[in-house]
């Protein structure tokens, strides 16, 4: 990603503006919806209508008082809030002001495949200076987002929120709403981050086990360390890119900037959480408030009250809070590896703050994360079973497949990594029950198993042992067929897996009310089964960890009409 000299000039200009104009200039660098709302505003400002114009460009942004370069949509990070109505038709005119190709993918939207925005799968991409018009009918409602699917642009600011209001009444009533976009920001160029990960996959991890820690009795015992060391597994490898490189943002603001959303005591406030981070899973909580989850990935769920939830990259959760006291509350988005946190405030008036809780102790991966929670079993033949080809005969065991989880288990009833002992109620996937009946309640006709594979040491990632660059054949489906997909995580890291152009039903829950999602975290050593109804098109299917995807964890679901062999 080259920064043209013109952009640099503009950047300096904006920096000087920020210095001269202080707060006023700073506010201009935020999208209207993310500026601290006036007390009377019930909803953030948004772009609406049938024709919406978006321009991708270079801008300087300021986070916690430090300027950095960003790729922006209409000049801000995050991009403008797009607000549509279920049933309307929209034309999104996207102009590329960069010197490189760009694109926008409407994450979670059910659009014709050619409007899905993945260069090389759905369309050729948007060349510099070009405008592409995405046009589609809006067939759903809820909280969504949009982002670049070109290069590593998403890391540098190319993302924004989208709300689609339901055609009828919204079952989750609220008095006021705020969009809460979580992301990760770095002043390091994303290609440089990727290079670092290839050079030394633990380069950003400053929470490793140490001999000093061993002497103080922290972390694993010596015997455990030796056992893990023998297998070349690092239990502290939770996040690839950490707070050592990242500032965690909420609505484009750093913890010191402290984005503030207003409320009047007693109001039901709907918070639309969107994880737009490139490589960060967050634990979200608001100390002092119960969080009533009313929607996941834009789909209503039966309300479930929790104290905390983990949100994977690209997932969205709509939460209703009801602060009754006339005081401020801190929104905490803690990085899963506890290397830092994002912080924002909910307050009755501007300028109020609440205590920011300290980052909690970082979790350690365990044998369950290795897919070998064998209880009392003898560990003697463990090495044999860690890479047994019979576990997944379809996976070629090359240098990119460090292990095949011998006993991957369904972990959808467990909170995310590090939250098992949070001391309060944490959302688990099995808490989610679709509010509306599932549209397709047929049993699946067949099943496929897809292995999420990798070599953490070489920072190689793929599906079924192959990177996308290895030219694997696409996963093939017939239009309209109902298929159960079982994702098996053969790595020690969590992977938020996203299927474009579809909702899938997680294979649990009351009959006809299975939770519907577009992105699901597959925990380390875990398996997740979902059923979906294939829609004609070529659809991207990938890990939403940007650098895992860039390393090869990307594939295509090819869905064709008719019963013929691959014919349309």
């Amino acid at each position: 990603m080259r920064i043209p000299s013109g952009a640099l000039d503009r950047r300096r200009f904006l920096q000087s503006l920020a210095i001269l104009g202080g707060g006023a200039a700073l506010a201009d660098l935020l999208p209207a919806w993310a500026r601290t709302a006036q007390a009377g505003e019930r909803s953030p400002a948004a772009l609406s209508g049938e024709d919406i114009r978006l321009t991708i460009g270079h801008t300087s942004i300021t986070v916690d008082g430090r300027a950095s370069h960003a790729v922006t949509i209409n000049g801000t990070v995050p991009g403008p809030l797009i607000r549509l109505k279920e049933g309307q038709t929209v034309r999104l005119h996207v102009s590329n002001g960069l010197e490189e190709e760009t694109s926008i993918h409407w994450h979670g939207l059910l659009v014709p495949f050619e409007m899905d925005g993945v260069p090389g799968v759905s369309f050729p991409g948007i060349k510099p200076g070009e405008t592409f018009v995405y046009e589609f009918k809006v067939k759903q409602s809820g909280s969504f987002w949009y982002h670049s699917h070109s290069g590593l642009q998403e890391q540098v600011g190319h993302y924004g929120p989208m709300i689609i209001d339901p055609a009828g009444e919204d079952p989750a009533a609220f008095d006021r709403e705020h969009v809460v976009v979580l992301s990760d920001h770095t002043r390091v160029h994303p290609h440089q981050i990727f290079r670092r990960l290839k050079q030394q996959s633990g380069a950003f991890n400053f929470q490793r086990q140490t001999i000093a820690g061993l002497l103080k009795g922290r972390d694993q015992t010596l015997a455990e360390r030796l056992e893990w060391g023998r297998m070349l597994m690092d239990p502290t490898d939770i996040s690839d890119v950490t707070g050592a490189a990242y500032t965690f943002l909420i609505n484009g603001r750093g913890p010191k900037d402290n984005w503030t959303g207003l409320f009047a005591p007693g109001e039901r406030v709907r918070l639309r959480f969107i994880n737009a981070a490139a490589q960060s899973v967050f634990n979200v909580r608001i100390p002092g408030l119960k969080l009533t989850v009313v929607a996941a990935d834009g789909q209503h769920v039966r309300p479930v009250e929790v104290d905390e939830f983990q949100i994977g990259n690209a997932e969205t959760y709509d939460v209703i809070v009801r602060p009754v006291e006339d005081k401020a509350f801190t929104i905490v988005s803690e990085s899963v590896d506890r290397s830092g946190l994002g912080r924002a405030t909910l307050a009755p008036r501007l300028g109020m703050t609440a205590e920011v809780p300290p980052v909690r102790a970082r979790p350690l991966a365990n044998m369950r994360d290795m897919g070998m929670d064998m209880g009392g079993m003898d560990h003697g033949d463990m090495d044999m079973s860690m890479r047994n080809p019979d576990t997944a005969p379809q996976v070629p065991l090359g240098p990119g497949v460090q292990m095949l989880s011998p006993m991957a288990v369904d972990r959808t009833g467990e909170p995310g990594q590090g939250l098992a002992n949070a001391g309060h109620r944490v959302l688990v996937y099995r808490d989610l029950v679709a509010l509306e009946p599932n549209p397709d309640q047929r049993a699946p006709e067949r099943s496929i198993e897809i292995h999420l594979t990798g070599n953490m040491e070489r920072f190689m990632w793929g599906f079924d042992g192959r990177k996308f660059s290895d030219r694997p054949p696409p996963y093939a489906f017939r239009h309209g067929e109902r298929v159960r997909v079982v994702l098996v995580n053969d790595t020690m890291m969590a992977h938020p897996i996203h299927l474009h152009g579809h909702y899938f039903e997680l294979a649990f829950g009351p009959a006809g009310h299975m939770p519907r999602k577009h992105t699901v975290i597959v925990l380390p050593g875990g398996r997740v089964a979902f059923d979906f109804t294939a829609e004609t098109g070529d659809w991207a299917f990938h890990c939403h960890m940007l650098y895992h995807m860039h390393a090869g964890m990307f594939q295509v679901f090819s869905v064709r009409d008719g019963q013929g062999e691959g014919a349309r």
Partner: protein, 296 residues
């Protein structure tokens, strides 16, 4: 150019759109649809719909691309090439100065370096290695290797290529070797060298990082050199010709920039020691080292 394509959209719609289910159809009376804000215990999960006893066969993977029917196939082909490149095809590189140090000890004071650079993808790489030592009078011994490296195992790269000695004698070798990561995070490498004169040499190296704190790292390190025959010109005797053990304590200011202090102990053995004695050189040597480990 896009305009006519957009005009086609309503036609293209029919397929996917009709089939995509309207999931916002009004829900039948649902006892849980009330919006009571209180906690609600999740219902016990029922089993998911069962798979049939005989599952239908998967269709074979299509070889066409649907987007080619809507957009310029040549532009799509180009975009697919970029897509592959951007999803697993990226090339990377690293230049690593492992040892770059000044030695003060029982023998003559001097400097020592050992470094490696690689360029390429996950499997195939070009590797350049160099190591040597010298003092204020110049380079005493120095070599450069150019190798093709291929990932053969999870942690093992096989390397073949050439080694060129610059000092003390200009000599060219064919090289076969490996680098690997052994259990307990031991970094190991080994190589066999066959010179243009038929001499056969071998080398084995190993190191391990003991992380005292997040940034303070103690690294024991060993290097052993072997020869299959005496090479009088270079003062090398057959068998184990020399060994060097080191213990270095580095502080990672950043992961990629770490000054260190340490000790190095070197010893020549057998005929190599005899050659050294004959030349009036020390057979063993202990030094304090001060250096920098850096990479980018």
């Amino acid at each position: 150019m896009k305009a006519p394509l957009i005009a086609l959209l309503p036609l293209l719609w029919a397929g996917p759109a009709l089939a995509q289910h309207d999931h916002h159809a009004p829900a039948p009376a649902d006892p849980h649809a009330g919006h009571d804000m209180g906690a609600m215990a999740p219902e016990p999960s029922s089993e998911p719909p069962p798979l049939p006893d005989r599952e239908t066969a998967a269709p074979s993977a299509p070889t066409d691309h649907l987007a080619d029917r809507i957009f310029d196939p040549a532009a799509m082909e180009q975009a697919r090439a970029v897509l592959r490149q951007e999803h697993g095809g990226a090339q990377a590189s690293q230049v690593m100065l492992n040892l770059f140090e000044y030695r003060a000890g029982s023998g003559a004071d001097g400097y020592h370096w050992a470094g490696e650079a690689w360029f390429g993808g996950d499997i195939d790489r070009l590797v350049i290695k160099s190591e040597g030592e010298g003092d204020r009078h110049g380079v005493e011994s120095g070599e450069v290797q150019a190798l093709y490296s291929r990932a053969m195992g999870l942690y093992t790269d096989l390397q073949v290529g050439v080694r060129q000695d610059l000092e003390p004698r200009s000599r060219t070798y064919a090289t076969v070797g490996f680098e690997t990561l052994l259990p307990y995070w031991i970094e190991a490498e080994g190589a066999v060298f066959v010179s243009s004169k038929g001499d056969v040499l071998a080398r084995a190296e190993g190191a391990i990082d003991w992380r005292l704190t997040q940034r303070l790292i103690l690294q024991p390190r060993a290097e052993l050199n072997f020869a299959a025959q005496d090479v009088a010109e270079t003062g090398t005797g057959s068998g184990l010709s020399d060994a060097e053990l080191g213990l270095r304590l580095r502080y990672e200011v950043r992961r990629e920039f770490a000054p260190y202090v340490g000790v190095a102990w070197g010893r020549r053995f057998g005929r190599t020691a005899d050659y050294a004695r004959a030349a009036g050189e020390e057979v063993s040597d202990t030094s304090v080292v001060l250096g920098l480990r850096a990479w980018f």
